[in-house]
Amino acid sequence: MKILYFAWVREKVGLSGEDVSPDIPVDTVTDLVEWLKTRGDNYARAFADPALVRVAVNQDYVDPDAAVGQNDEVAFFPPVTGG
């Protein structure tokens, strides 16, 4: 699974992206976030308030209960502020 981080989520995690293979069953975005949070304080800090983090799967916005699979691109970022 390809994971991307943007803006302050990227800064808190300390990575712009990574390939991951969770060692527990991960079926939804929420599962993925819970698993990521177990990987270190940097992840725990980035996802401390999941309501502040937006998610896209394969470049489409999704809700936290959306399905994710091994071949998906999952991106985490703050609410957008363009324009």
């Binding site: 943007f6 803006a7 896209a56 991106a75 957008v80 502020t81 363009g82 324009g83």
Partner: protein, 152 residues
Amino acid sequence: MSIQVQQHDFDVAREMKDLTAGNPAIGGVCMFVGLVRDMAGDDSISSMTLEHYPGMTEKALEDIEAEALARWPLQSTRIIHRYGQLQPGDQIVFVAATSRHREAAFEACHFLIDWLKTKAPFWKLESGPEGGHWVDARTSDDEATKRWQQKE
């Protein structure tokens, strides 16, 4: 589709020419240009850095443009959004719509910038004397987007 995500500046006069060239059916052009302000609340800003999600950004802008073309009888549209480091006074974003009669161009132009603000994956980092901070999403932008949802 005529969307562009770029680091370099754009020329409004040239965009206007491109939007209307060879189409005498166009009776009106409405354009919006967003600039970098020098203040954020009470803090002064020395520069602003725009980050985006390559791939998803283009897709989101194409969707926004397609939505405008589906809702209004437009002759042409254009969206340009810059990324990278910008200074106060710099142009950030350009949206434009042309139509036979002005109402469609006015409404579509307003719609394009409102939707872009809440849907295109860009993030602003403001830098000033106090250091850098990420701009928070504004509730007023969400409200502006809702207005167009009610019109559906």
